[in-house]
Amino acid sequence: MEKLLVRNISMIFGSSDREVVALRNINFSVSAHEFVSIVGPSGCGKSTLLYIIGNLIQPSEGEILIDGIPSDRGSISWGFVFQEYALFPWKTIIKNIEFGLKIRKRSAAERQKIARDYIELVGLKGFEDRYPHELSGGMKQRAAIARALAYNPDILLMDEPFGSVDSQTRVILQRELLNIWNKTKKTIIFVTHSVEEAIALSNRVLILTFRPGSIKVDIKIDLPCPRDLNDLMLTQEFNSYRHEVWEYLREEVDKTSI
């Protein structure tokens, strides 16, 4: 059975005289442990779609089902990683990571133990008591991932998580995300504007059309797992996927320049 079902989602912004249809009739499902990327031209509403899945925005129409049950804020079963880190600057790294557990009323000792495990998982050992502004962008994003994972949600929603780090850090973080995914077996929905990143990481790539956003194609990425990203990029298969995704995407990107 599907882990997540996105049913008939539409999103209309603005008032009746100046409406902007951001998303129209989005339907797709994601199985447990699947890694699905959403790509599309800027302004297609891919982040909006992720916010709707994460219940941070109410859609104009449609519903989100998790394990067959309509999702609401009361029963949160996802972790959200934002593009701009979103760590609380007034909390140390470990307190940031403990936050979701604190909300769930876990004891202080238990919170600390779990937080330390996740700090180790994302490779931030030794930085527990630092404040976010003392960390580099890549380290902040690792901490943000640990924070989203610490309370053990089934689904990880990531909104261009590596969009604001430099390209070298980005490659390292991508590799580590794949490791984390293999270890934790989460279901991941990953929004990105990078075609290469989407193909390299995912089982499936959804391409959204330009305004109003709807699903143009749903491409299954049949590449071996676990993957070595460096080798993968050189393979014939990777390049033909890249070509295919770009062909679809280009039609939409062209519309944005009109």
């Binding site: 994460g54 941070l56 804020r73 949160i76 996802w78 972790g79 959200f80 934002f82 701009e84 979103a86 609380f88 600057p89 007034w90 909390k91 140390t92 936050f99 979701g100 604190k102 909300i103 769930r104 404040y131 502004h133 003392e134 924070r147 989203a148 309370y151």
Partner: protein
Amino acid sequence: MEKEKFLRNLTGPILFILVWETITRLELVSYFALPPFSIALKTLFYLIIKGSVFLHIFHSLFRAISGLFIAIFFGVMLGVVIGLSKWGKIIASPIFEMLRPISPVALVSVGLFWFGLGSPSIIFATAWGCFFPVALNTISGIRDVNNIYLLSAISMGADSKTIFREVILPSALPSIITGIRISTGISLIVIIAGEMMFAAKSGLGFLLIDGYYRHEPARVYAIIIIIGLLGAFFNTVILKFQNRLLRWRKGLTI
């Protein structure tokens, strides 16, 4: 290195005192306008040895701190309520804009009508003057919480009570402390002025005006030095307090 820097920073004040001493000793200005620094300092020692000045310092401090605390209490409470509610700001803003420009010193006279002669009238005016910076900075601190922090707390399932305690309040804290810092300066101004208006027969302001009527400029300048030191003390305390509470911002340039 630290010591060297400290000594270097003393150059300005020493120069200032030297100029003061020289022009007064050369009688370039009259003794009543400005007595020599050394005489002011001698009077200051005399006041300290006599000891009665400490009671006046205590009275002034008590009034300043009482007024400040009342202002912080009501300022933060009202600021939070107004900052969180949509209607709060709509109703409160025009009232604040109307009342804020009134000089708090003027309110001493209102205090005298309400409370009679004595400390309460001065404390009332001080609290009035200190209330607005605290309240207004609390309101803007609460309203300016970055949306991404709210979203990330919501995404982890935080309820509104947790969001207030763990996100809104700490995020507004730098702004609240700024308000408190502005208010400490105001509190000293208002108490000195109030005491000079004979609203109470004690305090540093009272000693100042008393020294004037007794034609003792050296005493006036000695008291002014004490007031200056008191201001510096207030500032140091608030900076320590700020650095302690805002450790997480150290090194951040905002």
